[in-house]
Assembly symmetry: C2
Homo-oligomer: 332 residues x 2
């Protein structure tokens, strides 16, 4: 039996927003395994904001996605065949096997996970890269003390929702920023933030002032744009800003910031980071996050698109903020 792999390749680079014709869906036979290889059926594909940056050819922190190659991305799946000593059929694995339904791997970058303790998809979310991103930016850069105020943009997202819950567990006042009343409601009621500001509604400056009566000590930056300027103006002395993602600028438009002077006036530290460059922090972060999910102390939401063909539109929705929580594509 020849298995057919469905895959999506980058057909062209976007100009501004991504569109359907930047992607091409292809079928290809799955090759037989060589010694030392294993075959994985991908069950979940993770969609993440960084993917938009890699579709461009410009300077960024990673090599651009190659044209006509399978789109890169994190996956969770199940081993179906194995000629590799460390893996056997039935093993649950996470890795970066890309936008495709099947993948042959030599095991590099592939981790076995316990899908009984934590649902498999969570290893792409709060017990995976987004969770570790939240953990590192909050604990290593912002490093808040109990009683301090932490603001989190994209608060309902895969990263932001974890940042807020970790900060609450550290005794902080936590204020989220999210798009729309439904998301804001969930940020407070489900994720336990003290307040959430709807960046689509009303006077943002006033809403932020009311939600942060003692100013802001830490800011976890997931978006860029107007929020950043307003936050800069309310930062307390020696505040810390962790710059994780700037979704507002992923489509290539500049992100003007007017209040950069606050960095001097309030002696701020503003630091960008890419979580893949801090491998030493993954094991302790994943241990803590896994334990919190398993014990029900860390909650999460998922937005699930169905079938590989739905991935481009789902990525577009993610970049527009139409997702709610971790954006996944269910492949299996």
């Amino acid at each position: 039996m020849t298995r057919i792999n469905q895959r999506i390749v980058l057909a062209s680079r976007p100009r501004g927003e991504i569109s359907a014709d930047n992607f091409r869906l292809e079928d290809a036979p799955v090759p037989p395994l060589a010694e030392g290889e294993l075959l994985v059926k991908n069950l979940w594909l993770s969609l993440d904001p960084y993917m938009r940056g890699r579709m461009d050819d410009g300077k960024s922190y990673a090599q651009p996605q190659a044209l006509d190659k399978v789109m890169e991305g994190g996956t969770a799946g199940e081993v179906v065949e194995s000629r590799h000593p460390d893996f056997k059929p039935g093993d649950a694995v996470v890795g970066r096997l890309g936008w495709q339904t099947w993948a042959v791997s030599n095991g590099a970058g592939l981790s076995k996970v316990d899908a009984a303790r934590v649902p498999l998809s969570a290893y792409l979310g709060c017990v995976g890269m987004p969770g570790v991103t939240a953990w590192y930016g909050l604990k290593q850069i912002i490093a808040p003390k109990a009683g301090e105020t932490v603001v989190v943009s994209a608060a309902s997202g895969a990263v932001g929702s974890v940042v807020g819950q970790l900060a609450k567990a550290m005794g902080c006042r936590v204020v989220g920023v999210a798009g729309g009343p439904e998301k804001c409601k969930a940020v407070v009621e489900e994720f336990g933030f003290d307040a959430c500001i709807d960046h689509r509604g009303g006077d943002l400056r006033q809403a932020l002032a009311q939600a942060t009566p003692n100013g802001i000590d830490g800011y976890f930056e997931n978006t860029g744009g107007e929020i950043l300027d307003l936050v800069l103006a309310r930062m307390n002395a020696f505040g810390r800003i962790a710059v994780c993602g700037l979704i507002a600028g992923y489509d290539g438009q500049p992100i003007p910031v007017n209040n950069i002077r606050a960095i001097l006036v309030s002696r701020l530290k503003v630091q960008g980071f890419i979580i893949s460059e801090h491998p030493q922090f993954w094991p302790p972060a994943l241990a803590e996050l896994g334990e919190m999910v398993a014990s029900g102390r860390l909650r999460y939401r998922e937005s699930v698109a169905h079938g590989l063909a739905a991935a481009p539109e789902a990525l577009k929705g993610l970049l527009k903020g139409r997702n709610f929580g971790k954006q996944l594509v269910k492949l299996g």
Copy 2:
């Protein structure tokens, strides 16, 4: 004999640029000394960019300058009378005695200095606050390694010229940014920078690219504005930016920055600092800077205005970049 003190007080807060009517020159008798006090004849007044910020009433890192009070400022002078056990007539002292020709002090914040080893005025410049500012921002925030490229804005100024000379002594490639061909020439020929870019002339982007063929690892920010955006675009991974002053924004206009995304893309650390908040670094910095000046390894320039009445216009010139090196007012 009643001595008459000439002093300048803040008459009104500026709207935008400062003007002569923001200041008022007054005469007042010098009061007799009480026990524990001393009388200082101020010989030099230091003018510094931070003064503009304090003339406003807005949020900043220091209390605003009070209306109708003597303008605050650093001074160097000579003790004329003393009823204080630690000071005697003839002692050279530096302190913050303000925009006036005479001052009665209780000794708080006043330091005796050796005006034979280093000229008295230098204790207001490269062996004073501007020098320590340069030392701290370079060594504690940028912390460059030999071979790295450091860019310094306002490179001919009291802070920038010291930053560059210290970075050269650490084995860095050092590129200055200054206003006009005369300043740029001096930055290279007198202060030993590898190159200097005239921000008033030509294609800044191209000039910066040519002067920094290996990108930029550290940036000492003294100005704000267009330069910052261009530098952000050329920062290498894990670059460090020390934000010391933002002269371009002191007159109240916003400083738009478009390339904030570079903080994420290049994983930058951007940190603001106020040197008065790091007292533990003053003694080692002053020791090193004093030794470098005394041995001729640290060069400096001064722009001197004559007489207290010239101070407002000299401050205006400083904010416009019309000074060359440390801006002083000679009072004695």
